[in-house]
C-alpha cells in the first residue's frame, strides 16, 4: 500500500528508533524470523528489533501537533454539541476509562439497534495507514468526520456545530489559540483538532517493552513461552507484527457473519469478510474482541484461532490452520498477550488530570500528600480549620480517598494517576482517611481550631 503522508519527527517517544521504517519491511523480517522460530531456533535480537517502539510519533504535513490544538481536540472529543441531538460525543463510545472503547460488542445506535461493528480502541492510531475496521478513511482527519456525520452514530450537522461553537466565546478563544494562522471555528479546524488529539493517544511502555529493551528477566517463564509460541508455532506474528502488533492489512479470520468488510470498500469479492488487523497494545482493557465484538476474552480469541476458524475461500492465507495448542500453551499465549498491556489502565498524558473537590475553598492554604507506592506520604498531617488537604495520586495505579465519619463522610470515586483530591475541613478533630482500593493505606488528619 503506498504511503501518502510524509512523516516528520513529532512527539518524541520513549523507545528505540524505528520511525520511517516501512511495515512491509517489518513483515518480511518477521516472516523470515518466524521460519527460524518454527525450525526451533529463537533469535531474541531479531525479535527485539521487530518489536522496538519508535522514537517519534508521526505527524502529517498541514496539521502540526501543538499543545493548544491537542487541548482543543480533547475538549471537542467530549463535546456532545458535535452530535445532532446534543447528547452524543466521541467519548460516548470511545471512553477513556475503557481504553477508548465501550466494553460492549456493538454500541447501540440512534435507532436503538447495535451498530454494525465494534468500537475500535484509539491507542496508537497515529501510526495507522488507514482507519476504520474496513480501512475506508485515508487519514485521521477524514476519519474524524465520519462518526459525526453517520446517522446511526452522532447524526451530526457540522455546519450547525460550527455555528454553535462559534457562538461560544470560550470555544472560539480555544480555536484561535489552536489555529493562530486561521483563528476561526471551521469544519476543517474541528477535524484537525480531533485528529491532533488522537495522535497523542500513545500507549505507554509495558512489561514486554522492558524485554525489548534488553531486560531478559522482564517476562516470566510462561510469558516467555507464550512469546515463543506467538512468533513460532502459533504464527500470530504473521499479522500481528511491529511494535503495535499489526500489519495494518486486512484479513478474513474466519468468524461467522455476513459483513463484507474490506471487500465492500474495494469492490472485490476476494477480500470479503476481511477486516484490519487490530493492534494488540492495551488489549487487556478492551474486551470484547474482533470487529463484531463476538469474542469475549483473550482466551476466547486464542481458542478461535486454534479451533473455530470457519473455512471459506476468503480466509486469509496468512492465517494458520489447525494449530495444535494444549491448555497450557493457550494460557501461555494469553499470559504473553497480557504483557502488551499496562498493569493498570493507562490514561493518556494529553487528557487533563482531574481534580476531585470534596468541600473546601480552592483558594485556601493547602497541605499536600502523595500516594506513591500505595502509601500516603506523609502518613499524618496537621491542619487548621478552613485549610484544604490536597492528595495527589503520584502513583502508577488507581487510588481512592475516603473518610468514614463520624464527623465527616466523603468518598472520592476512582482517582487515576495524576488526579488530585482536595478535602476541606471546617471542624476541628481527628479524621482517618483510607484508600478504599488499598485499605492498608492510612492517613491521619488532625485539624486544629
Amino acid at each position: 500500500m503506498p504511503r501518502t503522508r510524509r512523516f516528520e519527527p513529532g512527539l518524541r517517544l520513549a523507545g528505540l528508533a524505528l520511525a520511517g521504517l516501512g511495515l512491509a519491511g517489518l513483515c518480511l523480517g518477521a516472516f523470515s524470523a518466524s521460519v527460524r522460530a518454527g525450525s526451533g531456533t529463537f533469535d531474541a535480537d531479531h525479535w527485539r528489533r521487530v518489536f522496538a517502539r519508535p522514537e517519534y510519533a508521526p505527524m502529517p504535513t498541514g496539521n502540526a501537533t501543538t499543545p493548544e490544538k491537542v487541548a482543543l481536540g480533547a475538549m471537542l472529543f467530549e463535546d456532545p454539541r458535535l452530535s445532532g441531538d446534543g447528547t452524543v460525543s466521541c467519548a460516548t463510545c470511545h471512553q477513556a476509562e475503557l481504553s477508548f472503547t465501550d466494553g460492549v460488542p456493538r454500541h447501540e445506535g440512534h435507532d436503538g439497534q447495535p451498530l454494525d461493528r465494534r468500537t475500535p480502541s484509539l491507542w496508537n492510531t497515529a501510526w495507522g495507514l488507514s482507519w476504520f475496521w474496513d480501512g475506508r478513511a485515508a487519514g485521521l482527519e477524514a476519519q474524524a468526520a465520519e462518526p459525526i456525520l453517520n446517522k446511526r452514530e452522532m447524526a451530526g450537522d457540522v455546519r450547525r456545530a460550527v455555528e454553535i461553537l462559534a457562538a461560544d466565546a470560550s470555544a472560539s478563544r480555544s480555536f484561535a489559540r489552536a489555529f493562530p494562522e486561521d483563528p476561526t471555528v471551521t469544519r476543517d479546524n474541528i477535524l484537525k483538532a480531533l485528529a491532533a488529539f488522537q495522535r497523542t493517544l500513545v500507549s505507554p511502555e509495558t512489561k514486554f517493552d522492558r524485554w525489548v529493551k534488553g531486560n531478559d528477566d522482564a517476562l516470566d517463564q510462561d510469558e516467555m513461552a507464550g512469546f515463543r509460541l506467538f512468533v513460532g508455532r502459533a504464527r500470530c506474528v504473521s499479522c500481528h507484527t511491529g511494535w503495535r502488533f499489526t500489519d495494518e492489512a486486512f484479513h478474513d479470520i474466519g468468524l461467522p457473519g455476513t459483513d463484507p468488510g474490506r471487500g465492500a470498500v474495494l469492490g472485490l469479492k476476494e477480500v470479503d469478510n476481511a477486516f484490519k488487523t487490530p493492534s494488540l497494545r492495551e488489549r487487556v482493557w478492551t474486551a470484547p474482541y474482533t470487529h463484531d465484538g463476538s469474542l469475549t476474552t483473550l482466551e476466547d480469541v486464542v481458542d478461535h484461532y486454534a479451533d473455530r476458524v470457519i473455512e471459506r475461500p476468503t480466509v486469509s492465507a496468512d492465517l494458520p490452520r489447525r494449530i495444535e495448542l494444549n491448555a497450557t500453551e493457550r494460557a501461555q499465549l494469553v499470559a504473553f498477550l497480557s504483557t502488551l498491556s499496562s498493569e493498570d489502565p493507562p490514561r493518556p498524558a494529553s487528557l487533563p488530570a482531574r481534580t476531585i473537590a470534596l468541600g473546601g475553598d480552592a483558594q485556601a492554604a493547602t497541605t499536600f500528600v502523595g500516594q506513591k507506592n500505595r502509601r500516603f506520604t506523609p502518613g499524618a498531617v496537621l491542619l487548621k480549620v478552613g485549610e484544604v488537604l490536597r492528595i495527589v495520586n503520584d502513583d502508577t495505579r488507581v487510588h481512592n480517598v475516603r473518610i468514614d465519619g463520624p464527623g465527616m463522610s466523603v468518598n472520592s470515586d476512582a482517582q487515576n494517576p495524576g488526579d488530585t483530591v482536595t478535602v476541606g475541613f471546617d471542624q476541628p478533630g481527628r479524621y482517618d482517611a483510607i484508600c478504599g482500593v488499598h485499605p492498608e493505606m492510612r492517613l491521619t488528619v488532625q485539624v486544629e481550631p
Partner: protein, 283 residues
C-alpha cells in the same frame, strides 16, 4: 501487616480437639502467642484441617493482603480464594444495583489486586485457565460506570469462576464437607475484615464492613448449595449451622453500614466459632 487476633475461647476449642500430645507440648508462652498471631503465620492448626483428605496438591502460602491467614492445602486455598472473589462480586453487585458505583469499585479491584496473585499456582495445578484479564476487564467497566459492559464482563467472570470451582470440587471425595471447610475459611477471613471495620462500636471502615458482608453472604450461598446433603447427614447440626449463619448475616443489615455496629469483633468471632463447632459432625 495485618495482625489476626484469635479469640481465646476458640483457641481453647481448638486445643480440645487437638491430640493430647500436642496439648501437653503447648507451653503457656505458646498459648499466649497464639492469642495474637501474625496473619501470615500458621500458629494454630484447626482440628478439622489436620489430615485434610483433598487432592494431593501442595500447600499454598499467601502473599500480602486478603487471604493471608494460613498455609492451606491447595484445594482449600483455591476454593477459599474463589469464595472471596465471589464475596467481593456479591457486595459490589449489590452496591451497583443501588446505584453506588463509587462504593462498588474497590470490591471489583480487590480480587485482582489482593487475591488473584496468590491463586495463580493453584489454578495451574488444577488445570484451570487464568482469569486475571477477565478480572481487570470487569473492574474497568465499573470504573467507567457502564452497566451494559459491566453485565457482560460480570457474566464472563462468573463462567470462569464456575469452571474453577468445578475443577476443585471434582477432586474432592466428600464434597459437602469440603464446601463447609471452604465456608469456614471464608468466615474467618470475614472476621478479620470485620475486626478492621469496627471501632468503638461504630463502623469506622466501610469497605472492610462490606468485604465481611460479601464473604458472609457468599458462605450462605455455598452452604445453601449443599444444604440437602448436609441435612441428610445430620439435620440437627444443619439447623445449628443455619442459625449461626443467620446470626452472622444479621451483623450486616444493609450494604451500607448502620450507624451503630450490630456486633463487636468478639461477638462476630463467637458466631463464627458456633459455625465451626458443627463441622466435625459432617465429616
Amino acid at each position: 501487616m495485618k495482625r489476626r487476633k484469635i479469640w481465646t475461647n476458640l483457641s481453647t476449642a481448638v486445643l480440645i480437639a487437638t491430640p493430647a500430645a500436642t496439648q501437653a507440648a503447648a507451653s503457656p508462652a505458646q498459648l499466649a502467642f497464639a492469642i495474637e498471631a501474625r496473619a501470615d503465620e500458621c500458629l494454630v492448626q484447626l482440628a478439622q484441617h489436620q489430615g485434610h483428605g483433598g487432592a494431593a496438591m501442595p500447600a499454598t502460602r499467601d502473599g500480602e493482603g486478603e487471604g493471608g491467614a494460613a498455609e492451606l492445602p491447595a484445594s482449600l486455598h483455591l476454593a477459599r480464594g474463589i469464595a472471596m472473589i465471589r464475596g467481593h462480586l456479591l457486595i459490589g453487585g449489590e452496591l451497583i444495583e443501588a446505584g453506588r458505583w463509587k462504593e462498588a469499585l474497590p470490591h471489583f479491584l480487590h480480587p485482582e489486586e489482593e487475591i488473584y496473585a496468590s491463586l495463580r499456582n493453584d489454578l495451574k495445578a488444577y488445570g484451570v485457565g487464568p482469569f486475571q484479564t477477565t478480572l481487570k476487564a470487569l473492574s474497568q467497566t465499573v470504573k467507567a460506570k457502564n452497566k451494559e459492559a459491566y453485565a457482560r464482563a460480570r457474566a464472563t467472570l462468573e463462567e470462569r469462576l464456575a469452571a474453577a470451582e468445578s475443577a476443585v470440587l471434582a477432586k474432592e471425595e466428600n464434597k459437602p464437607y469440603f464446601v463447609l471447610e471452604t465456608a469456614l475459611e471464608t468466615l474467618q477471613q470475614a472476621s478479620d475484615e470485620y475486626e478492621e471495620a469496627v471501632e468503638n462500636g461504630r463502623i469506622a471502615n466501610v469497605v472492610e464492613y462490606q468485604d465481611a458482608r460479601g464473604f458472609v453472604y457468599e458462605v450462605d450461598r455455598l452452604v445453601g448449595a449443599v444444604a440437602d446433603a448436609l441435612a441428610a447427614k445430620d439435620a440437627e447440626a444443619m439447623k445449628a449451622l443455619r442459625a449461626s449463619l443467620s446470626d452472622l448475616k444479621a451483623t450486616f443489615p444493609t450494604p451500607m453500614p448502620p450507624q451503630k455496629a450490630v456486633k463487636d469483633a468478639g461477638e462476630f468471632l463467637s458466631a463464627v466459632s458456633k459455625f465451626e463447632l458443627q463441622l466435625g459432625k459432617f465429616r
